[in-house]
Protein backbone atom coordinates (compact mmCIF):
# COMPACT_ATOMS: atom_id res chain seq x y z
CA UNK A 1 0.00 0.00 0.00
CA UNK A 2 1.38 3.36 -1.08
CA UNK A 3 0.26 6.85 -2.03
CA UNK A 4 0.48 7.68 -5.74
CA UNK A 5 -0.22 11.01 -7.38
CA UNK A 6 -2.21 10.52 -10.58
CA UNK A 7 -3.92 12.67 -13.19
CA UNK A 8 -7.08 11.95 -15.14
CA UNK A 9 -5.85 12.09 -18.74
CA UNK A 10 -9.08 11.11 -20.47
CA UNK A 11 -12.65 10.04 -19.83
CA UNK A 12 -13.89 7.12 -21.91
CA UNK A 13 -16.69 4.58 -21.97
CA UNK A 14 -16.31 0.97 -20.86
CA UNK A 15 -17.88 -2.04 -22.59
CA UNK A 16 -21.19 -1.28 -20.87
CA UNK A 17 -20.98 2.39 -22.00
CA UNK A 18 -20.38 3.61 -18.48
CA UNK A 19 -17.83 6.28 -17.68
CA UNK A 20 -14.24 5.11 -17.10
CA UNK A 21 -11.09 7.20 -16.80
CA UNK A 22 -7.51 6.86 -17.96
CA UNK A 23 -5.08 7.82 -15.20
CA UNK A 24 -1.42 8.70 -15.61
CA UNK A 25 1.11 8.49 -12.83
CA UNK A 26 4.89 8.91 -12.69
CA UNK A 27 5.20 5.46 -11.16
CA UNK A 28 4.18 2.11 -12.56
CA UNK A 29 1.15 0.77 -10.66
CA UNK A 30 0.18 -2.88 -11.06
CA UNK A 31 -2.90 -3.90 -9.09
CA UNK A 32 -4.20 -7.45 -9.34
CA UNK A 33 -7.73 -7.56 -10.83
CA UNK A 34 -10.08 -7.10 -7.90
CA UNK A 35 -7.74 -4.95 -5.81
CA UNK A 36 -8.90 -1.39 -5.26
CA UNK A 37 -7.60 2.09 -4.52
CA UNK A 38 -8.89 4.91 -2.37
CA UNK A 39 -9.06 7.98 -4.58
CA UNK A 40 -8.88 11.36 -2.89
CA UNK A 41 -9.97 14.15 -5.21
CA UNK A 42 -10.47 16.70 -2.43
CA UNK A 43 -14.26 16.33 -2.58
CA UNK A 44 -14.86 12.81 -1.26
CA UNK A 45 -17.26 12.57 1.67
CA UNK A 46 -16.13 9.05 2.58
CA UNK A 47 -13.80 6.48 1.08
CA UNK A 48 -13.96 6.54 -2.74
CA UNK A 49 -13.04 3.02 -3.66
CA UNK A 50 -11.99 2.67 -7.28
CA UNK A 51 -11.08 -0.48 -9.16
CA UNK A 52 -8.25 -0.01 -11.63
CA UNK A 53 -6.53 -2.22 -14.18
CA UNK A 54 -3.18 -1.60 -15.75
CA UNK A 55 -3.30 -0.85 -19.47
CA UNK A 56 -0.92 -1.86 -22.25
CA UNK A 57 0.92 1.43 -21.79
CA UNK A 58 2.06 2.54 -18.36
CA UNK A 59 -1.35 4.01 -17.52
CA UNK A 60 -4.23 2.83 -15.35
CA UNK A 61 -7.85 2.47 -16.34
CA UNK A 62 -10.19 3.46 -13.49
CA UNK A 63 -13.45 1.53 -13.83
CA UNK A 64 -17.04 2.62 -13.32
CA UNK A 65 -18.67 3.73 -11.13
CA UNK A 66 -16.58 6.91 -10.97
CA UNK A 67 -17.21 10.13 -9.03
CA UNK A 68 -19.10 12.48 -11.34
CA UNK A 69 -16.73 15.38 -10.69
CA UNK A 70 -13.72 13.83 -12.44
CA UNK A 71 -12.60 15.71 -15.52
CA UNK A 72 -9.56 15.38 -17.72
CA UNK A 73 -6.85 17.20 -15.79
CA UNK A 74 -8.24 16.32 -12.34
CA UNK A 75 -5.46 15.48 -9.92
CA UNK A 76 -5.89 12.56 -7.49
CA UNK A 77 -4.12 10.91 -4.63
CA UNK A 78 -4.44 7.14 -5.00
CA UNK A 79 -3.90 5.00 -1.95
CA UNK A 80 -3.39 1.33 -2.63
CA UNK A 81 -3.58 -1.21 -4.06
CA UNK A 82 -5.75 -2.50 -1.22
CA UNK A 83 -7.48 -5.79 -0.53
CA UNK A 84 -7.13 -9.16 -2.20
CA UNK A 85 -7.35 -9.55 -5.96
CA UNK A 86 -8.09 -12.69 -7.94
CA UNK A 87 -5.26 -15.25 -8.02
CA UNK A 88 -5.35 -17.44 -11.11
CA UNK A 89 -4.11 -20.99 -10.51
CA UNK A 90 -1.09 -22.28 -12.49
CA UNK A 91 -1.21 -24.24 -14.64
CA UNK A 92 -4.55 -23.02 -15.99
CA UNK A 93 -6.18 -24.54 -19.04
CA UNK A 94 -9.79 -23.52 -19.08
CA UNK A 95 -10.95 -20.29 -17.41
CA UNK A 96 -14.61 -19.36 -17.03
CA UNK A 97 -15.48 -15.75 -16.21
CA UNK A 98 -18.90 -14.43 -15.25
CA UNK A 99 -19.95 -10.83 -14.71
CA UNK A 100 -23.31 -9.70 -13.33
CA UNK A 101 -24.18 -6.04 -14.05
CA UNK A 102 -20.71 -4.72 -13.17
CA UNK A 103 -18.10 -3.34 -15.53
CA UNK A 104 -16.45 -6.36 -17.21
CA UNK A 105 -13.03 -4.71 -17.35
CA UNK A 106 -11.63 -6.45 -14.26
CA UNK A 107 -12.48 -9.83 -15.76
CA UNK A 108 -11.22 -8.86 -19.22
CA UNK A 109 -7.88 -8.13 -17.62
CA UNK A 110 -7.91 -11.66 -16.13
CA UNK A 111 -8.90 -13.02 -19.54
CA UNK A 112 -5.82 -11.44 -21.13
CA UNK A 113 -3.55 -12.88 -18.43
CA UNK A 114 -4.99 -16.35 -18.97
CA UNK A 115 -4.82 -16.01 -22.74
CA UNK A 116 -1.12 -15.12 -22.51
CA UNK A 117 -0.62 -18.29 -20.48
CA UNK A 118 -2.24 -20.22 -23.34
CA UNK A 119 -5.48 -20.99 -21.53
CA UNK A 120 -8.90 -21.10 -23.17
CA UNK A 121 -11.24 -18.43 -21.84
CA UNK A 122 -15.02 -18.11 -21.89
CA UNK A 123 -16.90 -15.05 -20.61
CA UNK A 124 -20.52 -15.11 -19.42
CA UNK A 125 -22.24 -11.81 -18.97
CA UNK A 126 -25.58 -10.33 -17.98
CA UNK A 127 -26.59 -8.00 -19.58
CA UNK A 128 -24.81 -9.26 -22.73
CA UNK A 129 -21.67 -7.48 -23.89
CA UNK A 130 -20.93 -6.01 -27.31
CA UNK A 131 -17.79 -6.92 -29.35
CA UNK A 132 -14.91 -8.64 -27.52
CA UNK A 133 -11.44 -9.77 -28.65
CA UNK A 134 -11.67 -12.61 -31.21
CA UNK A 135 -9.99 -15.19 -28.93
CA UNK A 136 -12.59 -14.60 -26.23
CA UNK A 137 -15.85 -16.50 -26.44
CA UNK A 138 -18.81 -14.55 -25.02
CA UNK A 139 -22.06 -16.13 -23.87
CA UNK A 140 -25.14 -15.18 -21.90
CA UNK A 141 -25.26 -16.13 -18.21
CA UNK A 142 -27.79 -18.84 -19.07
CA UNK A 143 -24.92 -20.89 -20.54
CA UNK A 144 -22.95 -20.78 -17.28
CA UNK A 145 -24.04 -24.18 -15.84
CA UNK A 146 -22.40 -25.97 -18.76
CA UNK A 147 -19.13 -24.14 -18.16
CA UNK A 148 -18.88 -25.67 -14.70
CA UNK A 149 -18.38 -29.10 -16.23
CA UNK A 150 -15.54 -27.80 -18.34
CA UNK A 151 -13.66 -25.04 -16.48
CA UNK A 152 -10.80 -25.61 -14.10
CA UNK A 153 -11.32 -22.16 -12.55
CA UNK A 154 -14.25 -19.75 -12.30
CA UNK A 155 -13.91 -16.02 -11.57
CA UNK A 156 -17.02 -13.97 -10.79
CA UNK A 157 -17.64 -10.24 -10.54
CA UNK A 158 -21.01 -9.44 -9.00
CA UNK A 159 -22.91 -7.17 -6.63
CA UNK A 160 -23.39 -8.73 -3.20
CA UNK A 161 -27.14 -8.56 -3.79
CA UNK A 162 -26.74 -11.18 -6.57
CA UNK A 163 -25.22 -13.80 -4.24
CA UNK A 164 -28.58 -15.22 -3.12
CA UNK A 165 -29.44 -16.01 -6.77
CA UNK A 166 -26.04 -17.33 -7.76
CA UNK A 167 -26.70 -21.06 -7.37
CA UNK A 168 -29.66 -20.71 -9.67
CA UNK A 169 -27.40 -19.12 -12.31
CA UNK A 170 -24.84 -21.87 -11.84
CA UNK A 171 -27.53 -24.53 -12.11
CA UNK A 172 -26.71 -25.91 -8.68
CA UNK A 173 -29.12 -27.26 -6.06
CA UNK A 174 -29.35 -25.27 -2.84
CA UNK A 175 -26.41 -25.75 -0.48
CA UNK A 176 -24.31 -27.42 -3.19
CA UNK A 177 -20.71 -26.27 -3.42
CA UNK A 178 -19.23 -25.02 -6.70
CA UNK A 179 -17.64 -28.05 -8.39
CA UNK A 180 -14.51 -26.18 -9.54
CA UNK A 181 -12.27 -23.72 -7.66
CA UNK A 182 -13.87 -20.28 -7.86
CA UNK A 183 -13.28 -16.76 -6.64
CA UNK A 184 -15.81 -13.93 -6.51
CA UNK A 185 -15.21 -10.20 -6.53
CA UNK A 186 -18.10 -9.10 -4.29
CA UNK A 187 -19.20 -5.52 -4.87
CA UNK A 188 -20.77 -3.49 -2.12
CA UNK A 189 -20.17 -0.04 -0.64
CA UNK A 190 -16.97 0.22 1.43
CA UNK A 191 -17.39 3.64 3.05
CA UNK A 192 -14.51 3.50 5.53
CA UNK A 193 -12.08 1.91 3.10
CA UNK A 194 -10.65 -0.48 5.73
CA UNK A 195 -9.68 2.27 8.17
CA UNK A 196 -12.37 1.65 10.78
CA UNK A 197 -13.83 -1.85 10.72
CA UNK A 198 -17.13 0.00 10.45
CA UNK A 199 -18.90 -3.14 9.31
CA UNK A 200 -20.74 -1.54 6.38
CA UNK A 201 -19.04 -3.93 3.95
CA UNK A 202 -19.60 -7.10 5.97
CA UNK A 203 -20.08 -10.27 3.93
CA UNK A 204 -21.66 -13.40 5.41
CA UNK A 205 -19.38 -16.43 5.29
CA UNK A 206 -20.21 -20.06 5.86
CA UNK A 207 -18.65 -19.45 9.26
CA UNK A 208 -19.24 -15.95 10.59
CA UNK A 209 -18.60 -12.84 8.55
CA UNK A 210 -15.71 -10.99 6.95
CA UNK A 211 -15.09 -7.43 5.78
CA UNK A 212 -14.88 -6.94 2.01
CA UNK A 213 -12.56 -3.93 2.33
CA UNK A 214 -10.02 -5.79 4.45
CA UNK A 215 -10.52 -9.53 3.89
CA UNK A 216 -11.83 -9.18 0.31
CA UNK A 217 -13.25 -7.87 -1.91
CA UNK A 218 -12.30 -11.14 -3.64
CA UNK A 219 -13.31 -14.26 -1.70
CA UNK A 220 -13.13 -17.96 -2.41
CA UNK A 221 -16.66 -18.73 -3.47
CA UNK A 222 -16.98 -21.80 -1.30
CA UNK A 223 -16.10 -19.82 1.85
CA UNK A 224 -19.01 -17.44 1.22
CA UNK A 225 -22.54 -17.88 2.46
CA UNK A 226 -24.35 -17.95 -0.89
Amino acid sequence: MKVYIAQVSALLLDERRRLAARLESEELISPAPGQYFLADDGAAICAQTIFCVRQEEASLLALPPLPVAWQPGSSLRLLGPLGNGVTLPRPLRRLALAVFEESPTNLLSLARQANQQGAEVALFAEPPLPALPAWLEASPLAALPEALTWADFLALDLPSSSLPHLRQHLGLPSHAACPCPAQALVRLPMPCGAVAECGACAVSMRRGWRLACKDGPVFDLNDLEW
Binding site: C46, P191, A196, E197, C198, G199
Partner: protein, 253 residues
Protein backbone atom coordinates in the same frame (compact mmCIF):
# COMPACT_ATOMS: atom_id res chain seq x y z
CA UNK B 1 -4.73 5.47 39.72
CA UNK B 2 -5.36 9.20 39.55
CA UNK B 3 -8.49 10.37 37.83
CA UNK B 4 -7.51 11.95 34.52
CA UNK B 5 -8.94 15.29 33.71
CA UNK B 6 -10.91 15.76 30.52
CA UNK B 7 -8.44 18.11 28.84
CA UNK B 8 -7.55 17.45 25.25
CA UNK B 9 -4.46 18.83 23.62
CA UNK B 10 -5.25 19.58 20.89
CA UNK B 11 -9.03 19.56 21.49
CA UNK B 12 -9.54 17.18 18.58
CA UNK B 13 -10.44 13.48 18.51
CA UNK B 14 -11.80 10.89 16.18
CA UNK B 15 -15.42 9.89 16.74
CA UNK B 16 -16.11 6.37 18.02
CA UNK B 17 -16.31 4.01 15.11
CA UNK B 18 -14.15 5.97 12.69
CA UNK B 19 -10.64 4.60 13.27
CA UNK B 20 -11.26 1.06 14.48
CA UNK B 21 -10.51 -0.62 17.81
CA UNK B 22 -6.86 0.29 17.43
CA UNK B 23 -5.72 2.51 14.61
CA UNK B 24 -4.04 0.78 11.69
CA UNK B 25 -1.31 2.41 9.63
CA UNK B 26 -3.42 5.09 7.97
CA UNK B 27 -5.28 5.77 11.19
CA UNK B 28 -1.98 6.24 12.98
CA UNK B 29 -1.03 8.99 10.55
CA UNK B 30 -4.24 10.84 11.46
CA UNK B 31 -3.50 10.45 15.17
CA UNK B 32 -0.61 12.91 14.99
CA UNK B 33 -3.24 15.62 14.78
CA UNK B 34 -5.42 14.30 17.64
CA UNK B 35 -5.54 14.82 21.39
CA UNK B 36 -7.10 11.43 22.11
CA UNK B 37 -8.08 8.20 20.37
CA UNK B 38 -11.64 6.90 20.74
CA UNK B 39 -12.23 3.19 20.08
CA UNK B 40 -14.99 1.60 18.06
CA UNK B 41 -18.11 0.82 20.11
CA UNK B 42 -17.73 -2.30 22.24
CA UNK B 43 -20.62 -4.21 23.79
CA UNK B 44 -20.54 -6.84 26.50
CA UNK B 45 -21.56 -9.56 24.04
CA UNK B 46 -20.26 -9.84 20.51
CA UNK B 47 -22.48 -8.15 17.91
CA UNK B 48 -22.83 -9.16 14.29
CA UNK B 49 -23.19 -6.71 11.40
CA UNK B 50 -26.77 -5.74 10.58
CA UNK B 51 -28.44 -7.72 7.84
CA UNK B 52 -29.44 -6.12 4.52
CA UNK B 53 -28.37 -2.73 3.21
CA UNK B 54 -26.05 -0.85 5.53
CA UNK B 55 -25.02 2.16 3.45
CA UNK B 56 -27.17 4.61 1.47
CA UNK B 57 -26.23 7.95 -0.02
CA UNK B 58 -28.32 11.09 0.18
CA UNK B 59 -27.88 14.73 -0.86
CA UNK B 60 -26.05 15.76 2.31
CA UNK B 61 -23.87 12.69 2.81
CA UNK B 62 -24.60 9.07 3.63
CA UNK B 63 -26.54 6.94 6.07
CA UNK B 64 -25.06 3.99 7.95
CA UNK B 65 -26.88 1.19 9.66
CA UNK B 66 -24.14 -1.23 10.64
CA UNK B 67 -25.37 -2.87 13.82
CA UNK B 68 -22.13 -1.85 15.56
CA UNK B 69 -20.40 -5.19 14.98
CA UNK B 70 -17.72 -5.93 17.55
CA UNK B 71 -16.13 -9.01 19.07
CA UNK B 72 -17.59 -8.37 22.53
CA UNK B 73 -15.87 -6.90 25.55
CA UNK B 74 -13.67 -9.81 26.66
CA UNK B 75 -12.23 -10.49 23.24
CA UNK B 76 -11.71 -6.81 22.55
CA UNK B 77 -9.79 -6.25 25.78
CA UNK B 78 -7.69 -9.35 25.20
CA UNK B 79 -6.85 -8.25 21.70
CA UNK B 80 -6.40 -4.54 22.14
CA UNK B 81 -5.59 -3.52 25.73
CA UNK B 82 -1.85 -3.87 25.23
CA UNK B 83 -1.98 -1.79 22.08
CA UNK B 84 -4.03 0.91 23.84
CA UNK B 85 -1.37 1.11 26.56
CA UNK B 86 1.36 1.53 23.96
CA UNK B 87 -0.29 4.31 21.93
CA UNK B 88 1.33 7.70 22.35
CA UNK B 89 -1.92 9.46 23.05
CA UNK B 90 -4.64 8.90 25.62
CA UNK B 91 -7.34 6.37 24.80
CA UNK B 92 -11.08 6.67 25.37
CA UNK B 93 -12.91 3.35 25.22
CA UNK B 94 -16.41 3.56 23.77
CA UNK B 95 -18.91 1.19 25.36
CA UNK B 96 -22.36 0.48 23.98
CA UNK B 97 -24.61 1.03 26.96
CA UNK B 98 -27.42 -1.47 27.02
CA UNK B 99 -28.00 -3.03 30.46
CA UNK B 100 -26.68 -1.17 33.54
CA UNK B 101 -25.28 -4.39 34.99
CA UNK B 102 -23.34 -5.17 31.80
CA UNK B 103 -22.02 -1.66 31.65
CA UNK B 104 -20.86 -1.71 35.29
CA UNK B 105 -19.19 -5.05 34.65
CA UNK B 106 -17.27 -3.67 31.66
CA UNK B 107 -16.27 -0.43 33.36
CA UNK B 108 -14.93 -2.31 36.35
CA UNK B 109 -12.62 -4.25 34.04
CA UNK B 110 -11.40 -1.12 32.27
CA UNK B 111 -10.38 0.62 35.49
CA UNK B 112 -7.22 -1.39 35.83
CA UNK B 113 -5.99 -0.79 32.30
CA UNK B 114 -3.15 1.50 31.33
CA UNK B 115 -3.32 4.45 28.99
CA UNK B 116 -7.03 5.11 29.33
CA UNK B 117 -8.16 8.70 29.68
CA UNK B 118 -11.83 7.97 30.01
CA UNK B 119 -14.89 6.05 28.91
CA UNK B 120 -17.43 7.17 26.38
CA UNK B 121 -20.79 5.46 26.61
CA UNK B 122 -23.13 5.28 23.65
CA UNK B 123 -26.66 5.61 24.90
CA UNK B 124 -29.51 3.97 23.02
CA UNK B 125 -31.02 6.62 20.75
CA UNK B 126 -34.48 6.31 22.29
CA UNK B 127 -33.30 6.29 25.92
CA UNK B 128 -35.46 8.14 28.43
CA UNK B 129 -33.94 10.45 31.04
CA UNK B 130 -34.41 7.73 33.65
CA UNK B 131 -32.66 5.11 31.56
CA UNK B 132 -29.84 7.50 30.70
CA UNK B 133 -29.37 8.36 34.37
CA UNK B 134 -29.27 4.71 35.33
CA UNK B 135 -26.70 3.90 32.66
CA UNK B 136 -24.38 6.80 33.48
CA UNK B 137 -24.68 5.92 37.12
CA UNK B 138 -23.70 2.32 36.37
CA UNK B 139 -20.61 3.55 34.53
CA UNK B 140 -19.30 5.45 37.55
CA UNK B 141 -15.63 4.71 38.32
CA UNK B 142 -12.24 6.37 38.60
CA UNK B 143 -12.42 7.13 34.90
CA UNK B 144 -14.36 10.16 33.67
CA UNK B 145 -17.44 9.28 31.64
CA UNK B 146 -18.47 11.00 28.42
CA UNK B 147 -22.12 10.32 27.56
CA UNK B 148 -22.68 10.20 23.82
CA UNK B 149 -26.15 11.38 22.82
CA UNK B 150 -27.68 11.65 19.34
CA UNK B 151 -27.51 15.35 18.60
CA UNK B 152 -31.24 15.77 18.02
CA UNK B 153 -32.07 14.56 21.54
CA UNK B 154 -29.05 15.86 23.43
CA UNK B 155 -30.78 18.91 24.91
CA UNK B 156 -33.42 16.74 26.64
CA UNK B 157 -30.94 14.38 28.27
CA UNK B 158 -27.90 16.54 28.90
CA UNK B 159 -28.76 17.69 32.42
CA UNK B 160 -29.82 14.21 33.51
CA UNK B 161 -26.57 12.61 32.44
CA UNK B 162 -24.46 15.38 33.95
CA UNK B 163 -26.30 15.10 37.25
CA UNK B 164 -25.73 11.35 37.13
CA UNK B 165 -22.01 12.07 37.03
CA UNK B 166 -20.99 12.33 33.37
CA UNK B 167 -17.97 14.61 32.92
CA UNK B 168 -19.17 15.77 29.51
CA UNK B 169 -21.53 14.88 26.72
CA UNK B 170 -20.56 14.18 23.15
CA UNK B 171 -22.80 14.27 20.11
CA UNK B 172 -23.46 11.30 17.91
CA UNK B 173 -24.87 11.39 14.42
CA UNK B 174 -28.52 12.33 13.93
CA UNK B 175 -30.88 9.52 12.91
CA UNK B 176 -32.52 9.43 9.54
CA UNK B 177 -34.48 7.10 7.30
CA UNK B 178 -34.32 6.40 3.59
CA UNK B 179 -36.12 4.01 1.26
CA UNK B 180 -34.18 0.75 1.08
CA UNK B 181 -33.54 -0.67 -2.36
CA UNK B 182 -35.56 -3.76 -1.42
CA UNK B 183 -38.62 -1.62 -0.48
CA UNK B 184 -39.35 -0.55 3.06
CA UNK B 185 -37.37 1.93 5.09
CA UNK B 186 -33.84 1.77 6.38
CA UNK B 187 -33.10 3.78 9.53
CA UNK B 188 -29.59 4.76 10.50
CA UNK B 189 -27.03 7.40 11.40
CA UNK B 190 -26.44 10.34 9.07
CA UNK B 191 -22.90 11.40 8.24
CA UNK B 192 -21.39 13.89 5.82
CA UNK B 193 -21.15 17.63 5.33
CA UNK B 194 -24.93 18.11 5.42
CA UNK B 195 -24.93 17.34 9.14
CA UNK B 196 -22.73 20.30 10.06
CA UNK B 197 -25.40 22.99 10.66
CA UNK B 198 -27.38 20.61 12.88
CA UNK B 199 -24.26 19.82 14.90
CA UNK B 200 -23.14 23.42 15.17
CA UNK B 201 -26.53 24.47 16.47
CA UNK B 202 -26.63 21.61 18.98
CA UNK B 203 -23.18 22.58 20.29
CA UNK B 204 -24.13 26.22 20.53
CA UNK B 205 -27.39 25.66 22.35
CA UNK B 206 -25.75 23.29 24.86
CA UNK B 207 -22.68 25.46 25.39
CA UNK B 208 -24.73 28.57 26.20
CA UNK B 209 -26.24 26.51 29.03
CA UNK B 210 -22.68 25.79 30.26
CA UNK B 211 -22.99 22.12 29.41
CA UNK B 212 -19.55 20.62 28.68
CA UNK B 213 -20.04 19.35 25.16
CA UNK B 214 -17.76 17.59 22.70
CA UNK B 215 -18.95 18.55 19.25
CA UNK B 216 -19.19 16.18 16.32
CA UNK B 217 -20.94 16.03 12.97
CA UNK B 218 -20.11 17.00 9.42
CA UNK B 219 -16.71 18.60 10.07
CA UNK B 220 -14.60 18.45 6.89
CA UNK B 221 -12.31 21.47 7.29
CA UNK B 222 -10.16 22.97 10.06
CA UNK B 223 -12.28 26.14 9.79
CA UNK B 224 -15.42 24.15 10.60
CA UNK B 225 -13.69 22.56 13.58
CA UNK B 226 -12.58 25.96 14.84
CA UNK B 227 -16.07 27.42 14.41
CA UNK B 228 -17.42 24.63 16.58
CA UNK B 229 -14.83 25.34 19.27
CA UNK B 230 -15.72 29.04 19.06
CA UNK B 231 -19.38 28.07 19.50
CA UNK B 232 -18.37 26.62 22.85
CA UNK B 233 -17.38 22.98 22.30
CA UNK B 234 -14.78 21.78 24.77
CA UNK B 235 -13.32 19.61 22.00
CA UNK B 236 -14.46 18.29 18.64
CA UNK B 237 -14.53 14.86 17.05
CA UNK B 238 -13.88 14.14 13.40
CA UNK B 239 -15.93 11.47 11.70
CA UNK B 240 -16.38 10.83 7.99
CA UNK B 241 -13.54 13.16 6.97
CA UNK B 242 -11.22 10.50 8.40
CA UNK B 243 -12.57 8.13 5.73
CA UNK B 244 -12.34 10.54 2.82
CA UNK B 245 -8.67 9.90 2.10
CA UNK B 246 -7.98 13.60 2.56
CA UNK B 247 -4.51 14.56 3.65
CA UNK B 248 -4.90 15.73 7.27
CA UNK B 249 -1.38 17.13 7.66
CA UNK B 250 -2.77 20.65 7.68
CA UNK B 251 -5.73 19.91 9.95
CA UNK B 252 -4.98 22.06 12.98
CA UNK B 253 -7.44 23.74 15.30
Amino acid sequence: MAKFDLAFSPPLMNAAGTLGFVPERRGLAALERLGAFVTNPISRQARTPAAGQRYLEYAGGFMLHTGHPNPGFKTAVNRYARLWASLELPVIVHLLAQEPADLAWMVERLEGLEGLMGIEIGLPPEASAAQATELVDAAWSELPVIARLPLEGAAQLAWSVLQAGAAAISLSAPRGALPASSAGLLCGRLHGPGVYPLALRAVHSLAVQDIPVIGCGGIYSPEQAREMLLAGALAVQLDAVLWSGRDLQTFTV
